[in-house]
């Protein structure tokens, strides 16, 4: 059986695991939708009122019944109703996901646009001052947590320069691409910084490895110009690990960047799940986590496949 098929077979199993895990975890958290809605005022409820509300939120059944009801729905593509939004969970997710997707794509574009040229430049100028500078910058970039970058950016821009992109009323890209990009650029830079640093380091070391390879040396000795060797012969192979890295990183970003979304007030998937946890919106937490896990696994599968397709040396082991 080939590797991708094997991955596909465990797919449903892992999704079931994630479902059970999130279902139980969110119910173990003290407090429920009633306390989330009423706060301390829920202490004023009579037992009968409490009963009515418990039934309203679907919490009156035991966990097995609740799980089965929910899971049976999931199998039919119905993730349930969000108690805070009063809408189907799928609708809520699909309203918030485009932003997360866009943010992930923008961060990746920034990372690749900066990372690959810088990495190649550093590799071809190995051990010169310019290489050192690129490496130091990359190292520092990789070592600064995104939310710290975000905080410092907000601080520097708003206090230092008195400018800040429009926050709050979020404009979807379909409505006004320019306004949208103005809003997304800072968070994208924030998330792109560490990402770019990783790409720089990966493309540099991959390029250095390739430049050591026999076929590259042969090409050079045949008198093919250095630039041509680098761009035509070495680069495509050096990009393979970069593709893998970017893919994996992209998979993580699709899960939403909770802290960065929080700092920049972006209504992305990460904040949606966080708010759902805080408001004990069980169906939304379950649905969104399942959705994120699904995307994560799909992206990782694609990365594996791409890796195999790009690198002829890699063959998945068959058992």
């Amino acid at each position: 059986m080939s590797y991708p098929i094997k991955r596909l077979l465990v797919f449903p199993l892992v999704m079931l695991g994630v479902s059970i895990f999130v279902f139980v975890a969110i119910r173990l958290v003290p407090g429920d939708a009633i306390t989330a809605m009423l706060g301390t005022e829920s202490g004023l409820l009579t037992p009968k009122q409490r009963e009515a509300l418990t039934a309203y939120f679907g919490l009156d059944q035991n966990w097995f019944v609740q799980f089965w009801r929910w899971f049976a729905g999931v199998l039919q593509g119905d993730l349930g109703i969000s108690t805070t939004y009063g809408k189907p969970v799928m609708t809520v997710i699909l309203e918030h996901f485009p932003l997360t997707l866009e943010l992930a794509v923008l961060s990746m574009l920034i990372a690749l646009a900066i990372g690959i040229p810088a990495g190649i430049y550093a590799a071809t100028h190995k051990d010169r001052p310019s290489d050192l500078i690129v490496r130091v910058v990359a190292m520092v970039g990789q070592s600064t947590p995104s939310f710290v970058v975000g905080l410092l950016l907000v601080y520097l821009l708003s206090v230092g320069f008195g400018v800040l992109p429009e926050m709050g009323t979020f404009v979807p890209i379909t409505e006004d691409p320019i306004a949208n990009l103005a809003q997304m650029i800072l968070p994208a830079i924030t998330l792109g910084t560490a990402f770019a640093a990783a790409v720089i380091r990966m493309s540099r070391s991959a390029m250095l490895d390739i430049l050591q390879e026999d076929y590259v040396r042969t090409a050079r000795s045949k008198g093919i110009p250095r630039r041509r060797v680098i761009w035509r012969h070495a680069l495509p192979n050096a990009l393979i690990p970069v593709v893998t890295l970017s893919g994996v990183e992209f998979g993580y970003l699709l899960g939403g960047a909770v802290l960065v979304e929080q700092i920049f007030a972006l209504p992305g998937l990460g904040r949606t799940v966080l708010d759902a946890i805080l408001q004990r919106d069980y169906a939304l937490v379950q649905g969104a986590v399942l959705f994120i896990a699904f995307n994560f696994m799909v992206v990782n599968l694609l990365v594996d496949l791409a890796y195999a397709a790009l690198d002829p040396r890699i063959r998945f082991e068959t058992k």
Binding site: V10, L13, V14, G17, V18, F21, V22, A25, I26, L28, V29, P30, M139, V140, Q142, S143, T144, P145, F147, V148, L151, L152, Y155, V159, Q212, Y252, G255, G256, V258, L259, G270, V273, L274, I277, V289, I292, A293, F296, M297
Partner: protein, 280 residues
């Protein structure tokens, strides 16, 4: 061990990383041992929100507490959480990875699928759920971060262990007449200990960041204690009145992560048989 230490010192990133790490460990140790310029918990209502000065190098916070002293305690706290969580994660992960490889079959499947489940779960949300369930605190943070990073160690150990079990290489080496135990030890050292060491170093950096993120959301270290993330979180709404409250922990966190990353780089270069050959 001493050879490794010398190699690290010879490596430029290793040198800087190790120096930084030692500075942090020292600061953290002094902080945890209570040897700080001021009592990190002592409130001084006269000295509230003072900027850096000769008396308070990094200024004072909202309660008039000395930021340098709190930074030292915070570094200690962040490192303790980082070390313990990665310690547990690497131990647990290694045991799971090794047993999965060794017993294979159903156990292997069960372990690896469970790790897949954990991996597919968004890390910060997983940690957040665990902490909300058990209530925040140092050991809950350790537990939460350990669980988040266990799958990585399981994967890192399972691969090499699997090939060790199949002994393809053992047979290959035997034909060259080397002893069996030598082969096992050498193989383990090269293919298991090396990647594990590098992974641990990097995980220490991630754990620092995760702890900071959790504390930033108010779910990590509890006041009046300090951790780098909690200091950042406290500084957020004060950053205009007292910018040093933001800069000090931000730079400290960055440098702490940097020290592990540099060290990890150096270890990777030194321990990787490929680069090793090239260096020789």
């Amino acid at each position: 061990m001493t050879a490794l230490f010398k190699d690290v010192l010879r490596h430029p990133s290793g040198r800087i990383g190790l120096t930084l790490l030692i500075v942090f460990l020292l600061a953290g140790f002094l902080g945890k041992a209570g040897i700080t310029p001021y009592d990190p918990l002592m409130q001084d209502r006269i000295a509230r929100l003072q900027g850096p000065s000769s008396a308070h190098w990094f200024g004072t916070d909202l309660f008039g507490r000395d930021v340098l002293s709190r930074l030292m305690v915070g570094i200690g706290q962040s490192f303790v959480i980082s070390f313990f969580s990665v310690g547990i994660a690497s131990l647990l992960g290694s045991v799971l990875g090794l047993t999965a490889a060794w017993f294979s079959g159903l156990w292997d499947g069960a372990v690896m699928r469970f790790m897949d489940v954990l991996l597919a779960f968004p890390a910060i949300l997983l940690a957040l759920l665990i902490i909300t369930i058990f209530g925040p605190g140092t050991w809950t943070s350790v537990l939460a971060i350990a669980i988040v990073y266990t799958p990585i160690f399981t994967r890192v150990t399972r691969g090499p262990a699997l090939s060790l079990r199949r002994r393809d290489f053992v047979d290959a080496a035997r034909t060259f007449g080397t002893s069996r135990s030598y082969i096992m030890t050498r193989h383990l050292a090269l293919n298991l200990v090396a990647p594990l060491t590098v992974q641990i170093t990097l995980a220490l950096a991630w754990a620092l960041v995760t702890e900071a993120g959790l504390s930033f959301l108010g779910l990590g270290t509890q006041p009046p204690n300090a951790s780098l993330g909690l200091m950042l979180s406290d500084a957020r709404n004060l950053m205009e009145l007292a910018p040093w409250l933001l800069w000090v922990p931000a730079i400290a966190l960055m440098l702490a992560v940097l020290s592990f990353n540099l060290l990890g780089d150096a270890l990777r270069d030194i321990l990787d048989p490929k680069t090793r050959r090239r260096l020789a």
